[in-house]
Symmetry: C3
Subunit: 155 residues, 3 copies
């Protein structure tokens, strides 16, 4: 692997920092979106949360499962399962000293595929929209993992 002193100020590292931050922020926005749906649908997971929505209505009925809330939560879960591996493997990939253009291609395609994945999940769009978005992100991460393994392999 390249010396990190040179890597850390490199354009590849700056690009990784930028795209990783953007896609992690996108993932974090699923929490407020879940909160918004819970408030508007009046569908909460905890008894104590019902006081956030209303002080007069029947609170026991507000601890319930709502299909739209669950859809946003599944989207959030899929982000956790895919964006975190991208960040971990992407950092190691960045440290292998890839070409800037190749690295940018990986980062940009991944971030666009995950933004599209969220749109396809929440609206929802007909399949295979979401499946294609998911698989695109998976292939990008596996491609970066392959470069890490052929560059750094030490078992």
């Amino acid at each position: 692997m390249a010396e990190l002193t040179h890597m850390i100020d490199s354009e590849v590292f700056l690009a990784f920092s930028t795209y990783a931050t953007i896609v992690v922020l996108k993932m974090m926005l699923m929490s407020p979106m879940t909160g918004y749906f819970r408030l508007t649908k009046k569908a909460f997971a905890n008894q104590e949360d019902t006081s956030l929505a209303s002080s007069t209505e029947d609170k026991k009925k507000m601890v319930r499962v709502d299909p739209d809330v669950e859809r946003v939560r599944r989207c959030h879960q899929n982000d956790l399962e895919n964006i975190i591996p991208f960040v971990v493997i992407g950092l190691l990939y960045t440290l292998t000293g890839p070409d800037l253009s190749t690295a940018l291609l990986h980062f940009r395609v991944f971030v666009v595929s995950r933004l599209f994945h969220t749109v396809a999940y929440v609206l929802p769009l007909p399949q295979p929209s979401r499946a294609v978005a998911f698989l695109t992100g998976l292939v990008i991460t596996i491609s970066m993992a392959y470069r890490v393994l052929i560059t750094a392999l030490y078992l």
Copy 2:
């Protein structure tokens, strides 16, 4: 971004390592806590797990959902959704070379907010205790992400 050779021995990096480790350990403790509640409440997710609790009782009835177990699991899930983004963005933030006092403020407020979040969720405390703890952590992570983006932006 600053050269990492200087960053890695810096007090900001040591502080990040310390607080990130503490808050990830806290998150990991939710697993044994879930196990404790599953054993004491005799509420398991898998048929084979019931043998861990008892060898004589009716095991089919022990594969069930318990409200207290689910509460701990939701707390754990919220940790995953918030602590992992803090660690990822916090590492990139550390590499931007922030002032030590500003960095410590971010790390300390985040860790305290997440410790309080766990207490507020598990007891539970009345809302908006947990909502305030959650939002505090979110704001801290967004503040660090903002600095990463204005320092490293490379699209």
Copy 3:
């Protein structure tokens, strides 16, 4: 902590990169495994997904919960809860400059314990197989966290 310039080309860092990539790839393979079970069991989470399996059958009945799908999903969730902390704390541990043999022992035992955990969960094997695999991984991560804290402690 040691200077990262020396660390990044070290055998410990190469070993960490290798084992972290392998265990994250293993975690990511749970997604296609979930997809495979959803397709063969015809048990989907979203109405729009049913078109991926069949165009003629009753699609409403295919939005349902299947025990085998849920088992794979719980295994995936347990990976998220344990493998991500290993990667985060393992990176910080690597930067503390541990002995190569000690580091390799940590990485190898962790990866083997998580591979065995997956086998024990999906088949499933009788308990306490899975519990032992889980606890082994937890102890490894706590051992690395301990070294990070005694080396880098800065509160």
